[in-house]
């Protein structure tokens, strides 16, 4: 993966950079907490949140299970509305299509509203190579574009920058020193980008949802830049992940209930726009020509895969990032891909289907399940992380040392005599390294563990060794069980064998 900058190869190295940057850590913590509390408040206030989640999940499951029908329906309706629909099997095709359209318009400038798909495709780079200026117009995206970086949060892309850094970046653009005052900085961006909107030949958008029955595409945003991009330039190009479909406007009500509340705690984003084809002949504004490029880029790899198909249900709200204890510590850039947090840890390897290269981000999770609890469409991300780790081992990308260790463990544990003699050996051997009941040495396999915490020593007498005396103690202390209790327990045991509930 190339972001135009080199970055360390593993999630561990990248997270070290993040952990050493105190501002970043604080900013990520503050932002994720603000968003998480906002979500909590909004979902509680709305009420019946579980029923809404379940409905959201059902709608997404149903649409993906019949994606062939609904996508086809969307394409036919969008065409009937006058949209030029294109298909791109991968990022390269999507970029080529966009470039062909841009070239035919002899475009010098493209204004873009936030789109995660376009981040996947690195389309800005391609445009710039053609000599076309590509301007991100979302405030956060504009800031990180000036910095030459990538988004670190799906909802707040410039979460990792402070206002002084931002003032410095914008001052360079302005050609004068701007104070680090939020409203002044935002005011500068408003004026600057107004010019860009009015100059640009092409507006490029993403797509939050596409409505099959009407052929409409829907955008959620707070700033108004997506409305600008889809109103002012003469040509609109929309990049749409092929799974963005929902059947009807009625279903949009459910998504509009779940998405803003989960993302930022808002009842609705300031703008929600449903755009149905180019401007009508008599209209005074809106794009004269509208293109929708439907992008696969690895998404179909999840279709028909029972363990990962539900990934396509994702509505890109970022709630799992805000809920994740690991994300809150290491921030988005440590994940290394376009998508960060728990969803990124699963989606990046799944989209790219290169388990070997990307599996290490699947380890950047504590499997606590907070992501699933937060997900408005109930995607079992923590289970998927386990599947991913499974696949890695099955494909032979496990660590040799770990494999040998597991084999050794199995050999020892499966034989009580072996187990006994190994424990004895350990009890004697550890005398060399135990200090105050702890083993602190970092030699050999102990290095990984003891770098961040200490191993407790083996007790002088193991549980197995104490077993005989423990049994004796219990017998002496407890009076024998009364007859009726014994009968009751025996009955309960029998019932369980007959197919009653059991643990696990």
């Amino acid at each position: 993966m190339n972001h135009g900058q080199t970055q360390p190869a593993t999630v561990k190295e990248r997270s070290h950079i993040a952990l050493n940057n105190e501002f970043l850590r604080k900013a990520v913590k503050f932002t994720t907490e603000r968003l998480r509390n906002g979500k909590k408040k909004a979902s509680e206030e709305h009420g019946n949140w579980e029923e809404w989640r379940e409905r959201g999940k059902q709608i997404r499951l149903h649409t993906i299970a019949h994606l062939d029908y609904y996508l086809n329906q969307f394409v036919e309706n969008a065409r009937a509305n006058g949209v030029h629909v294109h298909f791109a099997a991968d990022g390269k095709e999507a970029v080529e299509l966009s470039m062909k359209i841009a070239a035919s318009k002899q475009a010098k400038s493209v204004v873009k509203s936030k789109s995660m798909v376009s981040e996947e495709l690195h389309i800005n780079h391609a445009l710039e190579e053609m000599g076309i200026e590509a301007v991100e117009t979302d405030l956060g995206e504009y800031i990180i574009q000036l910095a030459g970086e990538t988004p670190s949060h799906i909802i707040i892309p410039a979460i990792h920058k402070n206002r002084y850094q931002i003032a410095e970046l914008l001052s360079k653009e302005a050609g004068e020193t701007l104070p680090a005052d939020t409203s002044i900085l935002a005011g500068f961006v408003r004026r600057k980008l107004r010019e860009k909107f009015l100059e640009a030949e092409i507006g490029m958008t993403g797509c939050n949802f596409a409505i099959a029955e009407t052929g409409s595409m829907v955008l959620f945003e707070n700033e108004g830049n997506a409305r600008m991009v889809s109103t002012v330039p003469k040509t609109q190009i929309t990049l749409m992940g092929m799974e963005r479909i929902i059947p009807t406007f009625a279903d949009l009500e459910v998504m509009a209930t779940l998405l803003p509340r989960s993302a930022t705690g808002q009842k609705l984003t300031v703008y929600m726009s449903a755009i149905t084809g180019p401007k009508r002949t008599v209209d005074g504004d809106g794009p004269e020509e509208m293109h929708i490029i439907i992008v696969d880029n690895g998404r179909s790899l999840q279709l028909g895969d029972p363990e990962f198909q539900e990934l396509l249900n994702c509505i890109r709200c970022g709630a799992c990032l805000n809920a994740c204890p690991v994300y809150r510590h290491i921030g988005g850039h440590a994940y290394g891909g376009t998508y960060s947090g728990p969803i990124g840890a699963v989606l990046t390897p799944a989209l790219q289907s290169n388990v070997a290269e990307w599996d290490d981000i699947a380890n950047a999770s504590s499997l606590c399940g907070a992501c699933y609890e937060a997900c408005p469409v109930k995607i079992p991300l923590h289970d998927m992380l386990v599947y991913l780790r499974n696949r890695k081992v099955e494909k032979g990308y496990g660590q040799t040392a770990e494999k040998i260790g597991m084999k050794g463990f199995a050999a020892i544990m499966s034989n009580s005599k072996r187990m006994r003699s190994v424990v004895k050996l350990g009890q004697i051997g550890q005398k060399l390294v135990v200090r105050q009941g702890l083993i602190k040495t970092k030699i050999g396999p102990l290095k990984g563990w003891n770098s961040v915490r200490y191993l407790p020593s083996l007790p002088n007498e193991s549980f197995r060794e104490r077993w005989d005396s423990l049994v004796q103690e219990v017998k002496n202390e407890n009076s024998p069980m009364s007859e009726d209790i014994r009968t009751r327990m025996e009955q309960a045991l029998k019932q369980r064998e007959n197919g009653g509930r059991s643990h696990g």
Binding site: N48, Q58, A80, T182, D283, I294
Partner: protein, 241 residues
């Protein structure tokens, strides 16, 4: 349109149709089907049943709408008549020292007589002369004035639809937006508005359907709330009736 452009579009169209069968056929195959699925039964359509029962009284709708609109930083007022609304708009326009106003070409606004009330102010009517650059008019306007097509009390949202007489730019480009909400268009839930679009014939669907919930905002700089980043930063909702 240049000839070269047309041929490119035609060519892309041909490629698109050729690719469609493969692209969507591939999805069907992944889902274990020989051919594209027939129209499926759609059991979980729209909001849960308990939700569709919700309906507030007119009084409650007005109160909740105003609360919601104000809570996100908008200004909300309730007037008994259009005449009162007109006076309010005229007063605010003078107070804000507005020089240019752009308004939609809607019957309610045509009858309002704002032009007489504000003789000093340049008031443009959207698209009344298609030869002019209406986007530039809107971008230069201090106030954009619209009558909403629908409004939603539960979320504090107005809905505006585009047409020949209703520019998308009017609610987007000016510094201030004023939206008149005839009270009978104020509904409780979003679902009540959505039904208008699900059942609509293609020719009745506008190119732009915009749901607006307060002033343009961003928290992208250090989580510090900024109002009026790209769209209007000052928004008035005027419920009439």
């Amino acid at each position: 349109m240049a000839e070269q452009e047309l041929t490119l579009l035609e060519q892309l169209e041909k490629e698109s149709r050729a690719k469609q069968a493969k692209f969507i056929g591939g999805i069907a195959a992944k889902l274990g089907r020989q051919e594209i699925a027939k129209k499926p039964v759609h059991p979980f359509r729209g909001a849960p049943d308990f939700w569709t029962q919700l309906e507030w009284s007119q009084e409650e709708r007005i109160e909740r709408f105003m609360d919601n609109w104000q809570s996100v930083g908008g200004h909300a007022f309730h007037f008994a008549t259009m005449e009162e609304a007109k006076q309010f708009i005229a007063e605010r326009a003078l107070e804000l020292e507005a020089k240019h106003i752009i308004r939609q070409n809607q019957p309610e606004l045509n009858e309002l007589g704002l032009e007489e009330a504000l003789p000093e102010v340049d008031i443009q009517v959207w698209n009344h002369n298609p030869a002019e650059n209406w986007k530039a008019h809107a971008a230069g306007a201090d106030i954009g004035l619209v009558v909403v097509d629908h409004a939603i009390a539960y979320t504090g949202t107005i809905t505006v639809l585009s047409s020949q007489d209703k520019g998308r730019s009017v609610s987007l480009l000016p510094t201030v937006m004023m939206a008149i909400i005839p009270v009978e268009r104020l509904k409780t839930r979003m679902g009540e508005v959505m039904t208008h679009f699900d059942g609509a014939r293609r020719e009745d669907l506008p190119a732009g359907i915009h749901f607006i919930t307060g002033p343009s905002r961003s928290s992208d700089i250090e989580n510090d709330l900024t109002i009026g980043v790209h769209g209007p930063g000052i928004v008035y909702a005027l419920i009439v009736g």
